[in-house]
């Protein structure tokens, strides 16, 4: 079985973003970029399934400008076998990404498609679901455990009320949650090896998808800042403040 993994290049999760002075967007100049943490978990899961003999090949795909090749190389260093970059201006909307991924999936015919549950820049949490709908295949979002047996995937999902387990007929789309696994670090030899692994570049046009969007970003602002609070020196003072100043306890 082949596994297709979709990864996104995003701002490193440790970096605090700043809004540009003209409020046109956030400032990504000279900011450290990385693999979206959820995508890293998807890559790790695919590589583990290959190591277990469940998968035979892991193909990683990213849609974006040339700079996302850095993240594709990173995924190759973590154990993916080959990479596809679909050239597009950075920041295509989720529907365009899902349409492109659907075309890639039609050509590659993977048994399992893994995505992150959410990109930590847009916080959209929708691409995997859209892809599953376009392919008319089952989905399991927010996965914390994946077992593959006899053409089916048994997936445990983290839902608001607790945990849910679904059984999906393959091919299927699964999006990863944080507790699915702990990604490894790429070793130096693997980073060197990754440089020679195949990386194919395609264009969205070639795949017959237009990436124009009906969603326009009008402006971006800083969230309301909280007033600086105070330090209280004792539990008594805290209780007094909560009772008489904030009036949030009886």
């Amino acid at each position: 079985m082949k596994i297709l993994v979709a990864v996104k290049r995003v701002i490193d999760y440790n970096v605090k973003v700043r809004v540009k002075a003209d409020q046109s967007n956030v400032d990504l100049n000279n900011v450290k970029m990385a693999l979206n943490p959820f995508c890293e978990i998807a890559v790790e899961e695919a590589v583990r399934l290959k190591e277990q003999g469940v998968a035979t090949e892991v193909v990683v795909v990213s849609i974006g400008s040339k700079s996302c090749q850095e993240q594709l190389r990173n995924a190759l260093a973590l154990g993916c076998d080959r990479a596809i970059q679909v050239e597009a201006e950075d920041g295509p909307d989720s529907l365009s990404v899902a349409r492109i991924l659907a075309k890639v999936a039609e050509a590659e015919t993977p048994g399992l498609i893994l995505l992150g549950k959410q990109a930590i820049d847009s916080d959209n949490n929708q691409t995997g679901q859209m892809l599953a709908a376009l392919l008319d295949r089952p989905q399991a979002t927010f996965a914390s455990e994946i077992k593959i047996e006899e053409g089916k995937a048994s997936v445990t999902r983290e839902i608001d009320g607790g945990l849910q387990t679904l059984k999906l007929t393959l091919p299927a789309v699964v999006t990863t949650d944080l507790r699915l696994n702990e990604p490894r670090f790429a070793s130096l030899p693997n980073i060197m090896k990754a440089k020679r692994k195949p990386l194919e570049v395609k264009s969205a046009d070639e795949l017959g998808v237009s990436v124009s969007s009906n969603i326009k970003l009008i402006s971006v602002e800083e969230p309301a800042q909280r007033q600086a609070g105070i330090k209280v020196s004792s539990v008594d003072e805290l209780v007094e403040k909560l009772r008489n100043e904030a009036k949030v306890i009886a």
Partner: protein
Amino acid sequence: MSTLVLIEHDNKTLSPVSLNVLNAAKQIGKPITALVVGSDCANVADQVAKIAGVDLVLLADNAAYEHQLAENVSKLLLEQIDPDNKGADAARFSYVLAASTTTGKNILPRVAALLGVNQLSDVMAIESESRFKRAIYAGNAIATVESSDAVKVMTIRGTAFDAINAEGGAALIESLSNVHLSADIEFVEESLAVSERPELTAATTVISGGRGLGNGENFNMLYSLADKLGAAVGASRAAVDAGFVPNDMQVGQTGKMVAPELYIAVGISGAIQHLAGMKDSKVIVAINKDEEAPIFQVADYGLVGDLFDLVPELEGKII
């Protein structure tokens, strides 16, 4: 042109968050149709019909919908929105809303893709018929976006809208008989947390514990304080990852969004991903032994010290 709201429920009762979503729908200002999908859920439809502002209730009550699997529910929604399969431009509804919960997030993007439109996730303000605000980058920036899609599909951040009045309405209930049942997906099991305490996202007071609690047993301190305050108990990702508490308690960018009157963070450092889920709380209290912990930058009242001394003392001093 009207608005379709997918109602959140557990087949017996309406989830409180639906009242917030209906308020967002009301702000859009078009007639509201509420869709209740489930099994043996006629009760929920009755509750929804009584909500002021709901014009029509559609009820799809069938065993096939018991677990509201996205594959099935999305097709049912599509059939309502675009009955003649003519595309988004000819749709019966111009807005489709659901709560930004794991249920809404699971189903709605599928509906958007089937319709060929985008989805706006976790909307926190309705600015006009086509302009909306939503948080991006873990809440470190607020984007105003404009959608020219013929159908605007949106998940709604419950904490950003007040609840609509649950009484005073008398909408008609119309049953839907068509059933969508995918053979490619099967529900196996569910283990749902049962708690006597209020639900995290609806509670007026939330007490959350972090890695500083040390283990799951120590959370008992928070539970007994919570019971005195009528509070819900949440947790940081680190506390969940370490196995102290189950995943449904995680507050943050990738967990639950909460905005109670009072949020008490105990042994939590205040990483941006945690702040994303609670910094809209009205009053924030932080208890942490590290006076440099970033949580103090958002706390109205900070108490520096050992939580193992301070939490029991606090409990003792609350009536």
